[in-house]
Symmetry: D2
Subunit: 345 residues, 4 copies
């Protein structure tokens, strides 16, 4: 049994980890920290866990995290990097669901996250936790920077095209739409039901933190310079993410060849589903599961390929992907504890 | 392995059965019938099942239902009773998610469902599939009438009070609220998103089919004559049911004693959660799980007890309860395949 | 032109007042105060008002409220009573959308609102602003305590029955459901989209502030002692309120006579619509309008009458009713500026 | 007073016309036809109109449409063109909210709408009813082809750029998102609440009927050949449309100059609001009003301008625009009856 601790279990990625880990057959949950809620039974905050998670939140200093095998950080940016050196020294692995270990370039990190990086020396060994593109490194990693939700869709939607060198990497457009849970469990007026319901808007159009991470990773797949225009939008739904990606073809390629690029790339992937050419994936077809689905279009038989990608932003976009990484790091079957059938309707 | 067939797999209770049975460790899915969709892969209609359910729908006559161990009917009222005699004769058990086997009184059935009952001789052996009140009979049953969604909440919310004889059974009020999936997957204008969203209404206030079934079952718990005022409402959410039940106390009873009635009644029940006195259960705390939660209130320390009951109408209110019955009928652990942690948020 | 000031224009009742007053032909908007947003154009906070409301928020001390004819308080409880004496002295009328002037009994006020009442001497002249039951007094009032949203539905739904003396006033039940905007524009976790969407729950079952106000007002309609069990619920919709009211008949009365009680009571009311007996009013049929609709039911021809009442909680339940009062106080046609057709769908 | 008839008043554009016309000071509603609902009071279908619209639906042959001044067709494609010749002959003007008179090229019409055009000779005089680009012609028109909802946003979002010749017209991308009411009031499974709620998807990615209309109209604004990639998506909200438009700049232009293009183009337009550069318009800021809002972005100071456009698809995107055209055709102030303040929240 893997002894697991969670730092910051009160947010949505924290409770989603708890939902997944509560039924994971190889996991023993040791501690869930929250300074503010020290002593409160977790199930009092999340009644969905009544009878399923018996632990109470504990203040970090009481949590004996160094006795765990792995710690998930479901915290704001900056928390994981402060604690990681001590955990590593104690032989504990770290999976950070925030951004502390996503970017190799500390200058870029500091520009976008407005804080100095406290352990740049560890960045080099940190592994970007996207199994479909990085599986081998994840297996050997001590530190995982779990990908952002949007970046997961953009990378898996673009990787086959960039690797094959068939699109103009300098003019990529990703028009992305996310459910509201992506904003987390913070009390903000803009995320109130009465504000976000029956409404649709773009946000962060002039620049969003998920951009540099995506550009850095996509850059590994091609020698072209990456130019990415990323536009996030807020959808009045709790979970779900839909990315509509536009890439201009630079090589003659018929639709069957395009489709084959994706089918070949993902044919052994348990959590990537390449749908038939021309399909319209719905976010709900992945709800509460670790599955990501992709479909390709080529409108008017023109020179632009449109890639549609859907996932549950809290699962494949966050907590599920983190568990997938944990499975790999501990030599388990990658799908262990992650085979939930999507809840649809 | 239990060989399972589903008649009518295209509706919401059908796909929910598929979701649950796809990961049930003791079930082998043999056939899912749909005359209209004969030959269509099930996963084409429900992409949530891609990679998880390989079967195609088959026309009933091709489905070899008599070779199954049990058939679930997720069909309109009237279908199950037509096929049950033949299935029983072949040694196949039947679980009907519609109303054909819920009511013992055929006159009542015919009044509310506007059709003659085609096998009244089988009604006597049909068992009402509410395990918490009827477990022993279910274990031995060949035919299960799976309870309606509203009746499940009303019965489990009222049973401890009626059995203890502490309330006026003649003036019960159940003000119930259901998510829209309760109306099924029928193309009806009133259930369109643009009609049902951002809206709330009562319906069937003057009389609803779930009333006679509830009255018949509640009558078994008390010698008083049941008087039930049941008011259903439509909530703009997909899943979830909340019943607010009002019962006038006829005996002096303090809150601790009231609470004890419920805790004692359900202390060994895996799918009934009695919350602390005064709690406010939320429907989402049961979403996609087979759990039902109850909390008690006694406003102003008056003579009326208010019982709040929540469940997922498609799981404990329908498909999950049916699987719970199947587990009992085949001697399995009652919770097999039903331990999903609710998806919240 | 009536010179109008609004204290506290940043919340939902404030912006709703602005929406209504912006097109009111007899109103000149003088000032909208907000200490926090002093100087910010109102339309920057509410882009719906771009080009329609040119004012900026002003700090209270700059707002010259004493030069207005009437001030609306769309503030938390306690603010209006602090400023009313000075305004009255300057000849300014006051309409408070909070609770400061709703309750005549200061002990009750202080018990429920946890603050002393700062001007109990003014309570006697304060008028409860429900025009359908209190029109004459409103016309002459200097201070209006604008009714709560729930109390409006409960009073208009029960008044004809209580006045006629045909129901048991000691055992009334009001099972009420409100859209989320009723909770206001406060940043609270429980009101986040990801918490309140796709969910339904009761709250405040053991006691809610709208109860004493309703009991006090209902008491004026009958000599019986009022016993009211009021259960509020939260519906995942922005606007709308639905009250399902249960009253036990104490006199023989057929359905036509019941219906006549209501039709007679409201036949001249511009904002109360008595629908045909047995109808199911939908909240959306009143969306964004000042209309309230009522329908009666008598299930199983039993001894309980069920009254269904719907309104838009922000209009007839708050800002619209306040404008209706203003019209009366200034001798205008009562419907002036309030004849919006509901937005449906 | 303008005598108005509506053909096909049972759908969402029909009821929205009724909402707007019921308070239009210069309109007298003469007839609303529906063969199926002949004789049914309109307010029985739409209780929002109780007390506001006294008419009943009438069968077309009883409706005396030729005695009206103008007929709105809120019907499926193909109905208006069948009746227009007779109406014109009787001196009645026609405003078609469907596609019969939107496309000048009958071959294109027939390809996309799968029906022959029954009066191609009238197409030449038909005027495309987008006042901001076509005002003079509308004033003199007898026949209006009212624009589609998506095309309205795409044209008003692109017109200033195309007229100024500063973007590559051959590679325009419009990633558009619509509320569900755009699908109309048809009983379709895909539009059920339980399907469309808590979900997001693209549709018609390989080709949508609003594309040819947009291309034809945009072609009038530039000598470049139009290449438009239009991707519609379905948002779980009733009303609202958000278009995210990407255009590659072909001339050096700073942000102030870009902004000036739009502000100059629309400075006298009552229903187009150019927001500050970098703003994020929300659909709800236009809810139930005829306003359309635009904001510009230029991410990373790159070569692509992103234009965000929002409107209420049923108002500026349909019924409101039709009334705006009517006002122009009858010499009224263009804003008459259309100055509703958006309902927000």
């Amino acid at each position: 049994m893997i002894k697991v601790g969670i730092v910051g279990g009160t947010g949505y990625t924290g409770v989603e980890l708890l939902r997944l880990l509560a039924t994971h057959p190889q996991v023993q949950l040791q501690a869930v920290t929250s300074r503010k809620e020290d002593g409160m039974p977790i199930a009092d905050m999340y009644p969905s866990l009544r009878g399923r998670v018996a632990l109470a939140f504990s203040a970090p200093e009481k949590a004996k995290l160094t006795e765990c095998d792995v710690i998930f950080f479901a915290t704001p940016h900056g928390v994981a990097m402060a604690q990681t050196p001590e955990l590593l020294a104690a032989g504990v692995k770290v999976i950070d669901l925030a951004a502390d270990f996503r970017l190799q370039d500390t200058a870029v990190f500091e520009k976008w996250y407005k804080m100095p990086h406290s352990c740049p020396e560890l960045l080099k060994e940190a592994v970007y936790g996207l199994p479909e593109l990085n599986r081998a490194a994840i297996k050997d990693a001590r530190i995982i920077g779990n990908p952002g939700c949007y970046p997961t869709t953009m990378q898996l939607g673009l990787a086959p095209l960039l690797k094959a060198g068939v699109v103009d990497a300098g003019h990529l457009i990703a028009d992305c739409k996310s459910g509201v849970s992506g904003a987390g469990r913070k009390a903000e007026v803009a995320m109130l039901f009465s504000e976000a319901s029956d409404n649709f808007k773009a946000y962060g159009v002039s620049g969003h933190r998920h951009s540099p991470e995506t550009v850095e990773q996509l850059g590994k797949l091609t020698e072209q310079k990456i130019g990415l225009l990323f536009t996030p939008h807020l959808v009045p739904m709790i979970r779900g993410m839909h990315s509509t990606i536009y890439a201009r073809l630079t090589k003659e390629l018929d639709n069957a060849a395009l489709q084959a690029l994706f089918e070949d790339a993902y044919k052994n992937e348990p959590f990537v589903d390449v749908m038939p050419f021309g399909a319209h994936p719905e976010t709900r077809s992945t709800r509460s599961s670790n599955m990501l689905r992709i479909a390709l279009h080529r409108p008017n038989d023109g020179d632009t390929v449109v890639v549609l990608v859907v996932q549950d932003n809290l699962v494949k976009g966050s907590a599920g992907q983190a568990v997938q990484c944990m499975n790999l790091m501990f030599g388990l079957e990658e799908t262990t504890g992650l085979m939930h059938v999507p809840v649809m309707p």
